[in-house]
């Protein structure tokens, strides 16, 4: 982008860094409005059960029966989601990291085409993929199976992982790999013992997001399962709210539990998100 050429932050000192707590207060107000639904989710999850009781504005007497019900009814689904998400992370990184390396370092013919395909894949509506996968999965016996969902859910993560890891590897000094190759290291060894360790931050970033994508997946869970045998938690929540809800505290408790990965990512992965996006610029 043309703007980047002029992006050198030469004069950060132009604006005096006065402590402007008024703006901070305003920002906290915006944040409070935006995060009210998240507060409400936590608040409602701590209310005692009951159809007629109105949720009070504050959880003054926190009640954990919602969580007991949630773990009792959705605990297995949470484990299913966890297994699928971890599987998707492993598969996505195993496929994306070598591809990103090839795209960043080798001038293979067709590399541009692969990147183009990755970008185009983002336009394809999930329902189109699900529609065709359902019939194929039915023939292959992959419906209602964890491997089936791992494969399908990785469709959310693999294109993203390739792009983010490639962007990072683009910024890595080529001389490091060339030096290793001169020392007689084969491609696989150079990749395994030099490129991957150096790309650690981008791998973590890609892995965290891939986890979150698979964890959040609803479409494939909805379309590629027909029985209760394999049921991710997103589908469990959907079934809660599909019928008339008379126990919101357990629904909200399940929602809180299903939000844990997102919250952890937001708090713990800040550094990796920054590493992933600025990694290419450091060099």
């Amino acid at each position: 982008m043309t703007t980047q050429l002029k992006a050198l932050p030469a004069s950060a000192a132009a604006l005096p860094a006065r402590k402007n707590w008024g703006y901070t207060a305003l920002a906290i107000f915006f944040l409070a409005v935006m995060l009210f639904p998240v507060y409400w989710m936590v608040n409602a999850s701590l209310q005692p059960n009951g159809t007629t009781l109105e949720t009070s504005w504050l959880p003054l007497k926190p009640d954990f029966t919602g969580y007991a019900t949630a773990i009792n009814e959705q605990g297995g689904n949470l484990v299913t989601s966890l297994v699928i998400s971890l599987g998707s992370v492993a598969l996505s990184l195993a496929i994306a990291a070598p591809a990103a390396y090839a795209l960043a370092y080798f001038k293979v013919r067709g590399a541009g085409l692969v990147l183009f395909a990755i970008l185009i894949s983002q336009m394809i509506p999930g329902i189109v993929v699900a529609n065709a996968l359902y019939t194929a999965y039915n023939d292959l016996g992959l419906l209602n199976s964890i491997p089936g969902l791992i494969l399908a859910d990785s469709a959310h993560g693999i294109p993203f992982a390739i792009l983010i890891i490639r962007a990072f590897m683009n910024g890595m000094p080529a001389s490091v790999i060339e030096a290793a190759r001169v020392d007689g290291a084969g491609h696989i060894r150079a990749f395994w013992s030099i490129v991957l360790p150096l790309s650690r931050n981008s791998l973590i970033t890609a892995g965290l997001f891939t986890f979150l994508f698979a964890w959040s997946d609803f479409l494939f869970a909805l379309t590629l399962t027909t029985t209760e045998a394999v049921r991710p938690v997103t589908l469990g929540i959907f079934q809660y709210i599909g019928a008339y809800v008379n126990d919101w505290s357990s629904v909200m408790a399940t929602a809180v539990l299903a939000s844990v990965p997102a919250i952890v990512l937001l708090v713990a992965a800040q550094k990796y998100i920054a590493a992933g996006t600025t990694g290419g610029a450091v060099k």
Partner: protein, 332 residues
């Protein structure tokens, strides 16, 4: 959640642009290889092996579904097909059925309203917040990153939470409005045919604000302060500075954000299924949700595929715009 991919692409674009200095060096080393022919060929095969798993995956999980969907859309593909294995060719019959149904015009209009309403709201609020966060104040960074939360939550979680907030009888919104004395009886946000679409758009705006804020903030950060200093000497401050400096400088980022937003909003399914399931009386039915209903509720996979393809074509129009907007950012 797929929205997250946008940032990666924008980020990938940014990093690729900055990392492009490497290209010169890389091609230099590649030049030496062709001298040794046999080694060169083996080398090339080796290099391709790194890419093969990704190519196979993309072909199976994106290429195959698109091709299969095109084939299915010309077939009478129903539950019976799964037992008999037969899906008779029906020509354009699925398209005729789908496009001439009265529901199609409803879904098309809803899709348009949902997309335009969502994008407009997300963009305006996102831009306003991005401009606001450009100011320097304590805790700016941490507050801005906490704003990302709505965007990282699973969409079905957000749908469930908003279902409860928008509940007619005991939802938080109606109680809040009631406490303020604005309303006497609960507003049926999700159960009235005239309000449901507005409510769904509102929720989708809430989900999309963080994405718009993040990308637009990134774009604003790249505008050099000198421009504003020079502008202020010429009397361009406040709104004038925004119109004459910020907006023109931000335009490339704006086009990427808007086109990506449209492409992603067109295919939204989770939020609508979670909030209203397309109801009441189809008032929130979009092309995506209708395609889902045709395939997975009525088991008319051929018709579902046909409608899905209509959605693909609409997306492709915007995809062309998207590629034009991001071509420079991504590679070469």
């Amino acid at each position: 959640m797929s929205l997250t991919t946008d940032v990666s692409q924008a980020a990938a674009g940014t990093a690729a642009g900055k990392g492009s200095r490497k290209h010169g060096r890389g091609s230099g080393s590649a030049m030496q290889v062709p001298r040794r022919r046999p080694r060169h060929r083996r080398e090339r095969i080796f290099q391709w092996l790194f890419l093969v798993p990704a190519v196979v995956y993309m072909a199976l999980f994106f290429g195959y579904p698109v091709a299969k969907n095109v084939v299915m859309s010309f077939q009478d593909y129903t539950t019976a097909t799964f037992f008999t294995g037969e899906a008779p060719w029906v020509g354009l019959a699925n398209y005729v059925t789908v496009l001439s149904s009265s529901l199609f015009s409803t879904s098309l209009l809803n899709t348009a309203l949902f997309t335009v309403g969502s994008i407009l709201g997300q963009f305006v609020i996102g831009l306003a917040l991005a401009v606001f966060f450009r100011r320097k104040f304590p805790l700016n960074g941490i507050l801005r990153s906490l704003l990302l939360l709505p965007w990282l939550l699973p969409l079905i979680v957000s749908s469930a939470v908003w279902r409860w907030i928008l509940d007619k009888d005991s939802g938080a919104l109606n109680r809040f409005l009631g406490d303020l004395g604005i309303i006497d009886t609960g507003i049926p946000w999700l159960t009235s045919t005239s309000l449901a679409l507005i409510a769904v758009v509102g929720v989708n705006i809430w989900i999309g604000i963080p994405f718009n804020l993040t990308i637009l903030y990134g774009g604003l950060q790249e505008i050099p302060d000198e421009l504003y200093e020079a502008g202020s000497l010429d009397g361009a401050t406040g709104w004038r500075a925004f119109w004459h400096i910020t907006w023109p400088m931000l335009r490339p980022v704006v086009s990427v954000v808007l086109v990506l937003g449209v492409v992603y909003t067109l295919k939204v399914l989770d939020i609508i299924l979670g909030l209203t399931n397309g109801g009441p009386a189809n008032s929130t039915q979009t092309i995506a949700t209708q395609s889902y209903a045709l395939s997975f509720h009525e088991f008319k996979f051929g018709e579902g595929a046909a409608l899905g393809n209509v959605l693909v074509i609409i997306s492709l129009v915007f995809a062309v715009l998207y590629l034009r907007a991001s071509r420079r950012a991504v590679d070469e």
